[in-house]
């Protein structure tokens, strides 16, 4: 009887220590989690995509414009979002140049021009984030810039579990997620 209690506590203590070690690793070095939703198409799929998030970049350390990040949603901190940084502190950027209007009359023409005329300056300690799929993304355009303190990591790579385990030398559609802020040719 006493022996079985001893074995049980021993196993429990191994589980606790092992679990905590994994958790510490995940929150300091790298985390591998699932992402869902259409907001980052075509960079990330709407389902079955898993991302590697590098924790060195948490709280916004060393981030640059064009990086993909994981952050807590400011209006619902239980949810996490993947977005791309399109404005660093101090940058002067357009709120939403993607607003589509059609030249069907004077009024729309004005609105269309207007979307290229609404600037903001990203405040200190904040970043402006937008989803890669501008048509279906809830982001800074609706909840304003987000504090760097909500940033949990930078997405450096992703696996696609819709793809087969092995295809052209790639495991589960593994690919790097690059910064797409580049010199304009």
């Amino acid at each position: 009887m006493l022996d079985s209690v001893k074995t049980f506590t021993k196993i429990l203590s191994y589980i606790i220590r092992g679990g905590c070690t994994i958790h510490v690793f995940q929150s300091t070095f790298i985390e591998f989690t699932e992402t869902r939703g259409e907001s980052m198409l075509p960079t990330l799929n709407s389902a079955n995509d898993f991302v590697f998030s590098d924790k060195h970049y948490r709280n916004g350390r060393d981030l640059k414009i064009g990086d993909c990040i994981v952050a807590l949603k400011p209006t619902d901190p239980d949810q996490r979002v993947c977005k791309r940084i399109t404005g660093m502190p101090g940058d002067l950027i357009l709120i939403d140049p993607s607003l589509k209007n059609y030249y069907n009359g004077n009024k729309q023409e004005i609105e269309f021009e207007d979307s290229f005329n609404k600037y903001i300056r990203v405040p200190k300690g904040h970043v402006w984030v937008t989803g890669d799929n501008l048509a279906h993304s809830l982001d800074s355009r609706s909840y304003n810039s987000i504090p760097l303190g909500l940033v949990k990591g930078k997405i450096i790579a992703a696996n696609d579990f819709n793809k087969p385990f092995w295809e052209n030398g790639v495991i589960y559609g593994f690919r790097k997620i690059e910064n797409n802020y580049v010199d304009e040719a």
């Binding site: 259409e38 198409l41 075509p42 709407s46 414009i65 064009g66 400011p74 791309r84 399109t86 404005g87 660093m88 101090g90 940058d91 002067l92 950027i93 357009l94 709120i95 140049p97 993607s98 589509k100 269309f112 021009e113 290229f116 005329n117 609404k118 600037y119 903001i120 300056r121 990203v122 405040p123 904040h126 937008t130 989803g131 890669d132 799929n133 501008l134 048509a135 279906h136 909840y143 304003n144 810039s145 987000i146 504090p147 797409n180 802020y181 580049v182 010199d183 304009e184």
Partner: protein, 78 residues
Amino acid sequence: MAPPTPILSKDEILRAYKLDKMLKSPDNNCTLKSLTQFECSFDNGLYKCNPFKRIFQDCILSNGKRQVVEMTTSETNE
């Protein structure tokens, strides 16, 4: 929620940050940059994504500070 952020028109930022002078001055090292995002729609079981390119002037000012200004217009996106 971020601190209250005023919305400025192009004229206002041109004036407030003396942009014309900043972009033309040879002391400031400005490069033209772009960032491409997309507008996707679901069509016949497949996602169709049209690229949407945003243009930025990325300047290292003579005082060592960096200033990024978005230059996207309807013409740059055709």
